[in-house]
Symmetry: C2
Subunit: 204 residues, 2 copies
């Protein structure tokens, strides 16, 4: 949240307004996508004049990268809680994480999926800034899985033919793909296939 | 390509125009996404008046579903060729398919991914018509994999703990997710992770 990044026009930017714009933009981009979310719509919903956007952000692209940061930060707490719970065995933590997510998607009627995946599909080819933000955050996320898998390998819970980093990234990619099918089918079938193959076959 | 579906206004629709609109729309939606592709842009590029669009299609949504059909048809020939090649063992066909795709994405500088995944991420929550088109086509695609996996199981090439349909859908989802990371990282790393885990561990 480096406020020196925003272009300066008009009065000194208000940090509450900035945070509010990001919160509203995150909600809208997660629900409707990047191109369907206009700056005018964001400022209307945030209840500020459109010019206010440009006193905080130099472009929609810069704003999008900040939305990705906010999305990741919002989810990082849960990642830390679940993966940091050393009372549970590593595979139980990993399974617990995905079970928690499956329950959440059932609750959310199988909509929205993952913002990182959505923006990769929609924007990665058109913005290096957003593309790199996504790559960085997917990487941050898979590091949680990797640590857990390394621990499971060290404890002999799973085989060690594959590097934990490769397994972690593959599992995360598989999850992202399962979310795409979940949304197309409007059901949890893809998430249950994911769970069955990952925990019933891959991590055995 | 049921021409009776289009709303009727003005002169009798020209089927070449219709096919040209779908071809241009597919190109644009695949490259830029659904919301970034406007009807005006499609008709401009196709060199026809905007009204011509509405003599063929009642809505952008209906057009989008037809674009999905066209995309699938365009790719189905390759699926039939590769998976129908009975001279190769089933796992070699499967591996050959993904190797062919990896080579194609290298050639395409890791852009665009899969239109089915892209539209699922961007549009599935907002159009039941497009959502169901995607689900149907993902299903059609995974049937090719399923048949191949069933054959591999019957021949004892891979274990049969998991139903071929579950494995096929999981592999396809994993591929879709790998494409998302490919685009974020602008590299083939995710595709190579996919190949390593699927053929080095899952299908052994």
């Amino acid at each position: 949240m480096n406020s020196s990044r925003g272009a300066r026009r008009g009065p000194k930017p208000n940090m509450d307004t900035r945070a509010n714009l990001v919160r509203v933009g995150l909600e809208m981009m997660y629900s409707d996508g990047y191109n369907a979310t206009g700056i005018q719509g964001i400022t209307d919903r945030a209840g500020v004049p459109k010019a206010s956007f440009y006193s905080h952000f130099s472009s929609k692209e810069e704003f999008g990268a900040e939305v990705i940061e906010a999305y990741y930060s919002r989810n990082e707490g849960r990642l830390r809680d679940i993966f940091g719970d050393r009372k549970r065995k590593p595979l139980d933590r990993l399974k617990g994480f995905f079970e928690d997510r499956i329950a959440a998607f059932r609750h959310a009627a199988f909509k929205r999926g993952c913002l990182l995946g959505n923006l990769s599909a929609e924007v990665a080819d058109h913005s290096d800034l957003i593309r790199q933000s996504i790559a960085e955050r997917l990487n941050g996320w898979s590091a949680f899985l990797e640590e857990c898998l390394a621990e499971a390998q060290a404890g002999g819970d799973i085989g060690d033919q594959l590097a934990p980093a490769v397994l972690a990234r593959f599992i995360l990619d598989s999850w992202e793909g399962a979310l795409l099918r979940m949304r197309a089918e409007h059901s949890d079938a893809a998430l249950l296939d994911f769970k069955r193959v990952v925990f019933g076959r891959l991590l055995t």
